[in-house]
């Protein structure tokens, strides 16, 4: 979908990206992560030409991005940022409809699309359509920001630390939402963050960037189990590395299937092992019944399955 | 806003002081040289019999002008700040909207109209000029004092309360010092307006630097007009530079 080959970018004499090679496949949830100043946001902005690369080649759907006019390529990619940037003088409806209007959709189609998106992001369309941004909470505003980015059904969704300014509860809600949207729509998402837990939770692939270079690009579990070097280990946090590993594995992978004798507590098969361990510590149980999607017991998870 | 923000306060102090020194020097030189400039103005305006204004001494006019502005300004500071402090105390809170209404209405009056309308009330001379100037400058001072006090961070007020300050101490140690830059901006505005209005007040019989201009205009003597205009401009720039210097010093604490 998007391919960087030998891309470099400098501001004056200060080089921010050096010889970057990266291919992002269709349907990937690619999380770019790094410390501030690492160049991760710049990589994102190169994709929709908010920044121009100095050398190398960036291809979108097989074509060099410079063969498009910047506006055209931007309208084919959704864009959501930390400061949200809703237009304060437009209603929520008008904000969400921004790109469809730019693309000249008819109003009937736009109205249907707005309803669809507000429902997708679990917002009450009736109450919120005619409201102005300043009447909404930060979490609600960012939901609108995401809805606006998705409005014209773009091929790619670019997100620049979109949940960075939200409180923990709103952030978790939106993380769950975006993960669900990714599963449901199969959109290609490029997501920038500096929060490793967010990256582990959302990514199908993590791209760790430092000083404008890729340090490691791999699925979350691989990053955790085989960190490329000490920098990656530091970034993952040495102290709770084990817990992080548990958080990327599901109960279903370690449970003893078919052992259906009820235990004192229970846990869903799709939950992660960190959650299961936390539950065991909190309740003092050494084993938990594992329940399937309809609540039936499908197996049992023992403490030794996690720690062993 | 951010794009048009003030330059860094530290450099602001130095620049303001330099500007004040330059303005003072030039104005002083102008004032000293003016009585000796007869031949210059005679050369500039060859058709005028009397090219130099001599009814009053220029220094006396400057002092009279400054005296009128300062006396009315001082009066306005006392009344305006007093009213603003009153309406921001619990006892006077209910008068606040009345004061705000009054300042809003009064600010639509052009200063010249205030001057003209005060003549029917008290006649000609220093009196109506003083009253008009004082009345008009109460408004920006009162308004700015209210918004300055309103702008004091609640945390600073709570800290003052928590440290055991009485309401009186909070007013003088927390509220007024923190509001001072905004109050001073109001005083600056009113002085700036008043220097001009004091000049126009020559038309109602007050003695000021407006006298050469009014007399010159009536007698077709462009030299008089120019002399008065130069001195008023100089005075206005000096006073403005002085306020800028004080404001810059006052705001050193938020140099951040």
């Amino acid at each position: 979908m998007i391919r960087f080959s030998g891309v470099s970018k400098a501001y004056g004499s200060l080089s921010v990206i050096e010889g970057l090679d990266l291919e992002i496949a269709r349907g990937e949830f690619c999380v770019l992560i790094g410390a501030s100043g690492s160049g991760k946001s710049t990589v994102l902005k190169l994709i929709n030409r908010l920044e121009e690369h100095d050398s190398g080649e960036i291809r979108f759907a097989g074509e060099e991005i410079r063969s498009f006019r910047p506006e055209v390529i931007r309208r084919r990619m959704g864009y959501a940022i930390q400061s949200i940037g809703l237009f304060p003088h437009w209603t929520i409806e008008d904000n969400v409809a921004t790109v469809p209007r730019l693309l000249g959709w008819d109003e009937l189609r736009i109205g249907r699309r707005v309803d669809e998106l507000l429902a997708l992001l679990d917002l009450d369309a009736v109450r919120i359509r005619r409201a102005y941004p300043h009447q909404l909470s930060g979490g609600q505003q960012q939901r609108i920001g995401v809805a606006r980015a998705l409005a014209a059904d773009p091929d790619v969704l670019l997100m620049d630390e979109p949940f960075g300014a939200l409180d923990p509860i709103a952030r978790e809600g939106l993380q769950a939402e975006i993960a669900r949207i990714h599963r449901a729509t199969g959109k290609t998402i490029v997501f920038v963050t500096h929060d490793i837990d967010e990256a582990l939770k959302l990514a199908t692939r993590i791209v760790l960037i430092d000083k404008g270079r890729i340090v490691q690009a791999a699925p979350p579990r691989e990053v955790l189990s085989a960190p490329a070097n000490d920098f990656v280990r530091d970034f993952l946090g040495r102290e709770d590395h084990g817990l992080k590993l548990l958080s990327v594995e599901t109960v279903a992978e370690r449970m003893r299937a078919g052992e259906t004798a009820p235990a004192n507590g229970s846990i869903g098969a799709g939950d992660n092992l960190r959650h299961a361990l936390s539950k065991m510590i909190a309740t003092g149980a050494k084993r938990l019944s594992v329940t399937g999607s309809s609540g039936e017991i499908v197996g049992t998870l023992h403490l030794s399955d996690i720690v062993g | 806003m951010s794009a048009l923000a003030q330059p860094h306060p530290a450099s602001r102090t130095g620049a303001a002081m330099r500007r004040l020194v330059v303005a003072l020097t030039l104005f002083g030189a102008l004032l000293v040289a003016m009585p000796f400039s007869r031949s210059l103005f005679a050369w500039l305006f060859p058709r005028l019999e009397r090219p130099l204004y001599e009814q009053h001494g220029f220094v006396a006019l400057v002092l009279a002008h400054l005296g009128l502005v300062a006396a009315s300004g001082l009066c306005a500071v006392i009344v305006g700040m007093g009213a603003a402090i009153f309406v921001t105390r619990p006892a006077g809170r209910e008068f606040r909207s009345l004061i705000e209404t009054l300042t809003a209405i009064a600010q639509t009056f052009p200063p010249v109209a205030v001057l003209a309308l005060s003549v029917p009330m008290i006649g000609f001379g220093f009196g109506p000029a003083f009253l008009a100037l004082a009345l008009y400058s109460v408004l920006p001072i009162c308004e700015n004092t209210i918004s300055g006090i309103e702008g004091v961070p609640p945390s600073a007020m709570q800290a003052g309360e928590g440290l055991g300050m009485t309401p009186h101490e909070r007013l003088f140690r927390v509220e007024l010092p923190l509001a001072a830059p905004i109050i001073l901006a109001g005083v600056r505005t009113s002085f700036s307006i008043n220097i001009g209005t004091a000049a126009v007040a020559s038309t109602v019989g007050a003695v000021s630097l407006g006298a050469p201009i009014i007399i010159g205009l009536n007698g077709n003597n462009t030299a008089y007009v120019l002399q008065g205009a130069l001195l008023i401009t100089g005075l206005a720039l000096v006073v403005d530079a002085a306020f800028e210097a004080i404001q810059a010093r006052l705001q050193r604490w938020n140099a951040g």
Partner: protein, 404 residues
Amino acid sequence: MRPASPVHPPLIRNRPLLALAVFLALGAFLLPVLSHAPNRLISGRPVPLLSLPATSLALMAAPALLLGAGAFLPQSRRSLQAVALAAALFISSLLFAAGAEASRLGAEASAAARSSLGSGFWVMLLAACLILADSLARAGLPAPARLLAGVAAFIPAALMIGFGHLDDLSVMKEYANRADVFRQAVVEHLVIVVGALVPTLLIGVPLGVLASRRPGLGRRTLAGLGVIQTIPSIALFGLLMAPLSALALAVPALGAAGIRGIGLAPAIIALTLYCLLPMVRNTAEGLARTPRGVVQAARGMGLTERQILWRVRVPLALPVFLSGLRVTLAQSIGLAAVAALIGAGGLGSIMFQGLFANALDLVLLGAVPIVVMVMAVDALFRFAAGSLRIGASDGATAATGAGR
């Protein structure tokens, strides 16, 4: 133990209203409502309010009593609206009584007799206007409705002037004597103001846009214009006089086109110089006000720079720009009065003529319309800005409870 006493509501419910009512009463009983002179050279004899006919007094007493009572009533929206209505009625009845008394006194005396408005009249008018404005503000009406109500309160006054009920007041006699001069002065005044507004817009808006793009240049421009603003108007007129008359002498064609040391040319140049500051500053501040994130998001969604300017920056800048225009216009209406001193004409020339000739009714005839013009411009722009305000209250409840 203290006996538990029922909580009495305080006797006085609105102290500002009471203070204003007392102020009004002092003006009514201690100061003359009119001043009557057999001719314009002799200073007048004071006419106290209580010497007016009983019908006039009764007409004024009814709303006045309601004003006083308003301070003791529970302060509801309805009672405040009633007080505002009473204030409006009082203003109308005061004007009506003054006009009727002037006619009555005029009928008894010679044609040269003059009845002018006295200090008591002005005090009562001021007090009633303040009560009107304050109770409208407290009644919690939205700003546009408040403005409309304030304007409506003066419709009877306008009708009285229109139908000649006030013709025997000396101000109106002065007006009748020089209606042509007055009308011409109003036109001249507007010519000066509009004459300065056009170049101000043509120069100020591009300069403001430029200043918002280049902050360094903007700061220097604003500093320069700030220096000009500190020069008093009369001095700036004076400073322009000598060079302009020299220019007219040197280039006779310019002189023939009206560029001279006195008159319209220096007035319009000086006013333009003054008006540039609010115009440039508010244009630049308005355009710079768009939050950075909003622009970034707009660009990221594929709005072109032109679309960002017209759909985002300009609508967001409009309220600030309009308030700059309001300040500009109000300022130049006032300054145009000073321009009469350099022969630019306008209402200021009537005002200064009155000042020089000690004819106070002429001063009023010049000054009052100036004040009314400024107030009209102010009200008009506030009304426009009020209807522009974003985030109208119709969606105020929408946020609560939406989402999760």
